[in-house]
Symmetry: C2
Subunit: 206 residues, 2 copies
């Protein structure tokens, strides 16, 4: 009926749903609204995806992959340790900046739907241990060299994750409280990107 550009109705529904789920979460987004915004009949949402849950799954699956791999992807070899860490922080930061509302949706649905938690565990259970072991190995070398204080991969990774995540999850609230304008806030974000690197690299020192 209303083929925006040349995409199919199914794609339109999927994209609209993703947008709305990110904006308002699962519970507050109705299939009726998805259909309205996508410009199609409400029954079509169910025709293509059967249930609201399945529609969400289709989106959540993809989002979870982005979210997880942003954090857990393997690090570059052959560059100095400090550079490696810097790159990890910045890459993770940039992916979150490109998807600022994703973490909230992610945690929200994992908190309210325990079923998804165990699903996530299966998906990531195998991924994080090898990575953390590898980092622990590298840390061990640096610690013995005396260039890094004693610490674990868990310490390091949690700090990176925390700084980056919290910034984007609290973004809108932060902007409201401080009363910063859009551009001022963008500047803050940019500053924080540098600051996160600084904080973490300094915190590594013995």
């Amino acid at each position: 009926m209303k083929p925006e550009k040349d995409q199919t109705t199914e794609q339109a529904i999927l994209e609209t749903a993703e947008k709305l789920f990110l904006e308002k979460g699962f519970a507050l987004t109705s299939t009726t609204e998805i259909a309205r915004v996508a410009g199609c009949n409400q029954a079509l949402v169910h025709y293509y995806f059967r249930t609201k849950d399945r529609l969400f799954d289709a989106i959540f699956e993809k989002s979870a992959t982005v979210f997880i791999s942003a954090f857990l992807d393997k690090m570059d070899d052959n560059i100095p340790f400090e550079e490696k860490i810097r790159k990890k922080i910045e890459t993770h930061f940039d992916i979150l900046r490109a998807n600022p509302k994703l973490p909230f949706l992610f945690f929200n649905e994992l908190n309210t739907n325990p079923g998804r938690l165990s699903l996530l565990k299966d998906k990531t259970g195998g991924m994080y241990k090898p990575l953390f072991s590898a980092i622990d190995e590298e840390l061990k070398v640096e610690i013995e060299k005396g260039s890094v204080r004693p610490m674990t991969a868990m310490d390091l990774m949690l700090t990176i994750l925390s700084l980056n995540l919290a910034l984007f999850m609290s973004g809108p609230v932060l902007q409201a409280i401080t009363g910063l304008t859009g551009t001022e806030f963008q500047k803050l974000i940019e500053n924080r990107r540098r600051e996160h690197v600084t904080v973490i690299l300094k915190s590594l020192r013995p």
Copy 2:
């Protein structure tokens, strides 16, 4: 009908509502369920609070105060700067640990209900600036002394907030992914309390 202990029905409703809102958020908690768990008739919830929104407001108001003042309360005078920061971090950490689900509810409802955002701004707009100015003054002294690298109160406070917040907001997910047991996870939390202090104090150094 069912006066648990000797509290009033109104209190029972309030406490039940708080518990359920924290567990499942506003949207997924029904007044019907609140009444059921509180052991009273559903109409009573509306008799005492008129609407679900007002009931939530009553709880949110109190929670917001805890949440904000945990972060913004004035720091001890007459102790060395480093100790002051350590205490700030630990106090904030401990309040969050005592209310681990509160940040999520807080951000969630602020994200989905823009009306509350401006309300929050009124409440905090006056609080954060004086505190940040005071910290900036102290930082200036330390920076001139050469004991702290150049940085702003915003830098420092955001780092404290981020580390503490993210830990508790991602807690359940983190535990699921890592597969840690309850006691193991408690140990992790305890370690992170020390680590947050370490990271931040080290990150202050020039």
